[in-house]
C-alpha cells in the first residue's frame, strides 16, 4: 500500500509543478471578477476536499499497520469498543453535514456575487452559435450602428458587457474560462452572460457543448481593449468594406461576387449579402480564421478557401473549384478587407 | 456442509393467491414501472403546456364524447372485474369462464370506441407539439388496452382447456383482474389531461 501512496504523491507533485505553466484558456488564471471569484472557490473546495480525503486515508491505513489478530469467533464483539466506534461515526457524520451546509452556503453566495457583476452593463452583444462558428452582433438603438462580425468579440476593458447568447441550430456553450464560467447556447432560449475583463488582453474561449463534427474547432476570442481603442475599432468596423485597390484584388472582388461565395457570405457595401456564414466585411482585421482554426495570413486564407474540408472536415463551407489565379485574386481581395 | 433438518415444509400449499404469489408481485412491479412511464408522459405534456404561452397552440379542444364513453365503459367494467376476482379466489370454474368472456367483451368495447377517439382529437401528431403529446398519451394507453385485452382472451381460451383446473391458473385470473384495474386507473388522469385540460381558462 505505502509504496503506491509514495508513487502517487510523487506523480502528483510533478503534475502540480506542470500546472504552473497554464494560462491562455484556463480557469486557474483569472482575468476578470467572475473568474476571480470562481478560481477562489475552486481552490477553497480543493483544499477542503484534500483535507477530508487525507483524513479518510489516514483512518484506512492504521489497521493495516497492525499485525493480524489470532483467528477467533467472528461473532464475538467487544460491546464497549463498538459503542465508542458508534460515537465516532456519528461525530464524523455530523462533521460531514456541517461541512456540506457550509459548502452549500458558500456556493449560494458566490452565485450572488456572480449575478451582481454585470447588472449595469452598457454594451449588449448578441452571440449566436452556429455549427461551427460564432456570429457576433453589437446591438444598438440606431439600426445603422448595429455591427455584425464573427468569432472575435472586442470589448472595452474594465467595463461589464452583457452577452445575449442563442443558437439557430444545435446547442453550443459559450466559455471563456479566464473571464467567466460557461453558459449554454440553446435554440429557442435566450441566455444572458455578463462579463468583465479587468485588463486589456486576448482571452481564448472554446465551445464547450458537443455540437457535432467540428466541436473541437469552434473557438472564440475576447479582445479587451482600452475604451478609446475599442471605440475606434467599432467605428472602423461600421464602415463598409474597403474597395479593392490593385487589379488583382479587383478581379478577386468580381470573382467573389460571381462565385457561390456570395450566396453564403456578406461583405458590406457589395451585393454579397448571405447570412448563413461569417460576415467577411472586415475579415482581414481578424487574428484568426474559421473560429480559431488558423491564424490569419495570406497563406492560410488561400489554404482555407482552396480546401476548407481538408482543414476542418465537415465544416459547412464547400470546396469551391477555383484555379490558381482565381484563388490568388480572391485572397488578394479578402486580404484588403481590413 | 453437514445438514440438520429443523423444519418440515411438506404441509405447505402448492400455490398462493394475491400477495402470497410471486406473480402478483411481478405484476405489481410492472405496474410500477409502466405507471412511471405514464407519469413521465403526463409530466412532459404539462411541462410543454407550462412553457407555452398559448397552449393548446391555437387549436380547438378535442371532442370529448368518444373519450367520455370510453371512460364510462372502463368504469363500468370494474364491477364485473371484481366479481370475477371473487370467483377466481374461490376457484369456481364455470363463473370464472363466464366472467372472462364478459371481461374480454368489456375490453373490446372501449377499443372500438377508442378508434373514434383519434379523429376526435381534431389534430394530427405532426402538426405541433400539442398534437404530438395528445397522440402519444392516447397511443400509450391504447397499447396497454390492447395488450391486456389480448392477455384476457388468451387466458379465457386457456380456462376452457384442461389446463384450467389448476390453482396457478386461478391465480393468473386474479392477476389479470389486478392489471385491468391498473389499465382503468391510468386512464382517468390521461382522460382529464387530453379532454379537459385544453378547456381550462
Amino acid at each position: 500500500m505505502s509504496r503506491g501512496v509514495w508513487t502517487m504523491c510523487w506523480c502528483t507533485a510533478c503534475i502540480l509543478l506542470l500546472a504552473g505553466c497554464s494560462g491562455w484558456q484556463s480557469a486557474l488564471d483569472p482575468k476578470g471578477p467572475a473568474a476571480n471569484e470562481l478560481a477562489w472557490l475552486i481552490w477553497f473546495f480543493t483544499a477542503l476536499c484534500t483535507v477530508v480525503w487525507l483524513l479518510v486515508m489516514a483512518v484506512l491505513i492504521v489497521p493495516l499497520a497492525r499485525r493480524p489478530a489470532p483467528v477467533g469467533d467472528p461473532l464475538v464483539l467487544d460491546a464497549a469498543a463498538e459503542r465508542s466506534k458508534m460515537r465516532i461515526v456519528v461525530a464524523a457524520l455530523a462533521a460531514t453535514a456541517l461541512i456540506l451546509v457550509g459548502l452549500t452556503l458558500l456556493s449560494y453566495f458566490a452565485n450572488r456575487t456572480l449575478a451582481a457583476i454585470g447588472s449595469d452593463a452598457a454594451l449588449t452583444i448578441r452571440v449566436t452559435g452556429h455549427q461551427w462558428w460564432w456570429e457576433v452582433r453589437y446591438e444598438n438603438d440606431q439600426p445603422n450602428r448595429i455591427l455584425t462580425t464573427a468569432n472575435e468579440i472586442h470589448i472595452p476593458a474594465g467595463e461589464p458587457v452583457r452577452l445575449v447568447v442563442t443558437s439557430t441550430d444545435v446547442i453550443h456553450s459559450f466559455w471563456v474560462p479566464n473571464l467567466s464560467g460557461k453558459l449554454d447556447v440553446i435554440p429557442g432560449h435566450e441566455n444572458v452572460l455578463d462579463l468583465k475583463a479587468d485588463k486589456p488582453g486576448v482571452y481564448r474561449g472554446q465551445c464547450a457543448e458537443f455540437c457535432g463534427a467540428q466541436h473541437a474547432n469552434m473557438s472564440t476570442f475576447i479582445i479587451a481593449e482600452p475604451r478609446p481603442v475599442f471605440d475606434a475599432w467599432l467605428n472602423d468596423q461600421l464602415r463598409p468594406a474597403a474597395a479593392p485597390v490593385s487589379a488583382e484584388a479587383k478581379t478577386g472582388h468580381d470573382l467573389f461576387l460571381k462565385r457561390p461565395c456570395v450566396m453564403c457570405h456578406k461583405i458590406g457595401g457589395t451585393i454579397a449579402g448571405g447570412t448563413v456564414a461569417p460576415n467577411l466585411t472586415h475579415i482581414a482585421s481578424r487574428q484568426t480564421l474559421a473560429a480559431g482554426t488558423l491564424t490569419m495570413s495570406r497563406g492560410n486564407l488561400a489554404a482555407w478557401i482552396a480546401n476548407p474540408q481538408g482543414i476542418k472536415p465537415g465544416a459547412h463551407m464547400p470546396v469551391v473549384r477555383l484555379d490558381g489565379d482565381e484563388l490568388n485574386a480572391i485572397v488578394a481581395y479578402l486580404e484588403g478587407l481590413k | 456442509m453437514k445438514q440438520r433438518p429443523v423444519a418440515d415444509l411438506s404441509k405447505l400449499p402448492t400455490f398462493g393467491i394475491g400477495p402470497r404469489s410471486p406473480t402478483w408481485w411481478g405484476t405489481l412491479a410492472f405496474m410500477a414501472l409502466e405507471g412511471t412511464g405514464f407519469a413521465l408522459a403526463a409530466g412532459t405534456y404539462l411541462y410543454l403546456a407550462y412553457l407555452s404561452p398559448k397552449w393548446p397552440l391555437g387549436v380547438p379542444p378535442p371532442n370529448h364524447w368518444p373519450g367520455t364513453i370510453v371512460t364510462l365503459l372502463l368504469l363500468a367494467s370494474v364491477v364485473p372485474n371484481h366479481i370475477l376476482n371473487r370467483y377466481a379466489e374461490a376457484c369456481a370454474m364455470v363463473p370464472v369462464r363466464i366472467g372472462l368472456i364478459v371481461m374480454s367483451l368489456l375490453g373490446i368495447a372501449p377499443l372500438v370506441v377508442r378508434w373514434f377517439e383519434f379523429p376526435a382529437l381534431n389534430i394530427y401528431w405532426d402538426t405541433n407539439a400539442y398534437g404530438s403529446m395528445l397522440w402519444v398519451l392516447l397511443g400509450l394507453h391504447t397499447t396497454h388496452l390492447i395488450t391486456d385485452v389480448g392477455d384476457t382472451m388468451v387466458l379465457t381460451v386457456l380456462m376452457f382447456t384442461r389446463h384450467g383446473y389448476s390453482g396457478r391458473r386461478f391465480g393468473d385470473v386474479g392477476d389479470n383482474v389486478f392489471y385491468w384495474d391498473f389499465v382503468v386507473a391510468t386512464w382517468i388522469p390521461i382522460y382529464l389531461l387530453i379532454y379537459w385540460m385544453p378547456r381550462l381558462d
Binding site: 474560462p177 | 398462493g16 410500477a32 412511464g37 390453482g167
Partner: protein, 655 residues
Amino acid sequence: MSSARERRLAGEGAAAGKGDLAPERDGPRDTSLDDSSLDRWLARTWQTAPGIIGALSSVDHKIVARRYLITAFAFLCLGGLSAVAMRIQLSGPERGLIGPDRYNQLFTMHGVTMMFLFAVPIVQATGIYLVPLMVGTRNIAFPRLNAFSFWIYLSGGLFAWVSFALDMAPDVGWFSYVPLSGPEFGPGKRSDVWAQMITYTEVSSLAVAVATIVTVLKQRAPGMSLDKIPLYVWAMLVTSFVIVFAMPAVMITSTFLILDRLVGTHIFNPAEGGDVLLFQHLFWFFGHPEVYIIFLPATGMVSSIITAFARRPVFGYLGMVLALIAVGFLSFGLWVHHMFATGLPKLGASFFTASSMLIAIPNGLQIFCWLATLWDGRPIIRTPLLFVFGFFFTFVAGGLTGVMLASVPLDLQVHDTYFVVAHFHYVLIGGSVFPLLGATYFWFPKITGRMMSERLGRWHFWLAFLGFNAAFFPMHIVGLWGMPRRVYTYPVELGWGNINLFITAGAVILFLSFVLFTINLVYSASRGAPAGDNPWNAGTLEWATSSPPPSYNFARIPVVTHAEPLWAERDTLPVATGLRVDARELVISTVAEAHPDVREKSATPSIWPLFAALAVGATFLYSIFSPWAVVWGAGPIAITLIGWFWPKGDPEDEE
C-alpha cells in the same frame, strides 16, 4: 428445535381446499432420501438438458448469469479498446490518426458501451448469479423472463457494434442531446441506432430488476427476516427498485426521439411548441439514478469482501441499509446538476446544489461504517481486499470532486471539461470497476471451483491502480486548464500536449493490467488451485453449497438464524425438508419475516424466451426503418409469448 417453532415455520395458511381444482398430485419428497439419491433426483429435475437446444432453453440462473458475465466482459474489452484508440489520437496536439467523424463515433460507443452494455449488465449479472444463492433458493424468480432478458441484451449489444462496423454508429455522445440527434441535424440512421439500442438494453435490465425484486422479497430461505438479509442483497434490491423507477424515463426519452425522427412529431422541436431542454430533463431523470445503479451493487460487493476479510459482521448494519435506501431515494432528486450551465433560474439550481450535497451524507455513512469494520479487524491482505483499498482511495476522491461539481458556480467552470471526465472515471472505475475486480477474485472460486492466481492478482492490482491514477488524475488539471471534453484534437499553442501524453501512457498501463487480468482469468479457470466450498471462511449462504454450485443450488433449503448464517452455525447447517424432488419446487416465504408460505414450482426450461427475444429484437430493428414494424411485429411477438406461457403439461405447470 422446539415444536412450536416448527409449526410456525410450516406456514399458517393451509391449501385452499375448495373449488374446481385438479386433485393435488404428489411425488417423492426429500424428507427421507439419503444424500446421494437426493442429489440424483434433484440433478435429474433441475439440470439443463444437454445439446444445443438444451443450452438455448436453459433457465438456470447460474448459466444465464455466466453468459451475461462473459458478454459484459467482451463489451468491456470493446469499450476499453475504443478508449485506447481515443487516447492515442489525443496523445499529442493536432494528431491526424483519427478524424472527427470516427472519433465522435468512438467516444459515443465508448460511453454507450461502458454504461449500457458493460456496467449495468455486469452488476445485474453478478446479482443474477449471487442473489438466489445468497438468499438460499434454487432459482431466480421468473427464470424464463431472466433468460429472455439475456437474449435481448445480447441482440442489443450486437446491433450497436455491428452498426459501428458498418460506419453508422451513433456519434452524438452517450446522452445524445437534441437537436443534434434530432431529425434536422442528425441525418442518417445513427441516432436511431442509439435510441433503439437504449430500448433493447432497458427492456432487458427492467426484466432482471423485476426478477431480482421478487426473488428477494418472496424467495428468501426460511428465517431470513429483513434484518438478516446480506448487505449485498440489500444493495441489489435497492438498485432494482431504482431501475424500476428510473429506466422508464430513458425509454420515454428514446421513444420520443424516435417518434420525432421517424413519424414527424414535434416533442423536442422549439419551432412547433416543443422544447430541447425537455430532452435533458427526461434523460437525466434517468441518467443520474443510472450512476447509482452502477455504484450501489458495488457497495454491496465491498461490504461482502470487507466482512469476510475483517472477520466480523459489518459495523452498523442498520445504518448501512438505511444509507442504501436513502441513496436510492435521493438519486431521483439530483438530475438538474447535469444541467447547471443551461441557464436555469438561479434559485432552482441552488436547490439542486443542496440535494446533491445531501447525498454525500449516506455515502459518507457507508464509508465510515466500512472504516469502523476494518479498524480492529486486522485484515489479511489478499487481492480482493487490495481492490477494496483501491476503491477507497479512488472513490472517495471521485466523490469529493462530485461535491465540487455540485456547486453551481464552480460547475460553470468545469462542466463539460476533462475535470468532469476525471470525476466520473474516478467514481465509475474507482467506485464500481475496482469493487467488481475485487468481487471477481472473491467469487471466482465459487463460480469455477478454482482460486485465481494471487501472484498475478497482485501485479494486476498495482498496474491497474497506478495506471488508473496516472491516466485520470491529470485530467482534473487539464480540465481546469480549459480542455473541453469530446474534442478530437486540440491546438499546439494551448500547451496540453505533454500532460495528454502522460494520460495516454497511464491508459496504456491500465490496458496492460486488463490484459494481465484476462490471462489470470483464463489460466485460473483451468489450472487454478481447487477452492473448496468456502475458501475465505465467509459467512453468507452462497458458501454453504459446493463450488461450483449444483444446478439445484442447495440439496435442502437452508434455515437462517443469523445475518452471517455460516458463522452462527459452524458445524451443521439447519435445513428444511419436505419439498418434492421430481418437480422444480422451491419455497415462497413471507415478505418481512420470511416464514415459509408456499411450495411453488419454478418454471422449466423453454426455447420460447429465445423466440420471443428474436421477435422483439427484429421488431425494434425494423422500426428504425419503418414505423409499421410495430404492426408487423405484433403478430410474431404475440405468438411467441403465447408459446412461452401456454402450459405444456409438466408438473411445474399444472399446480
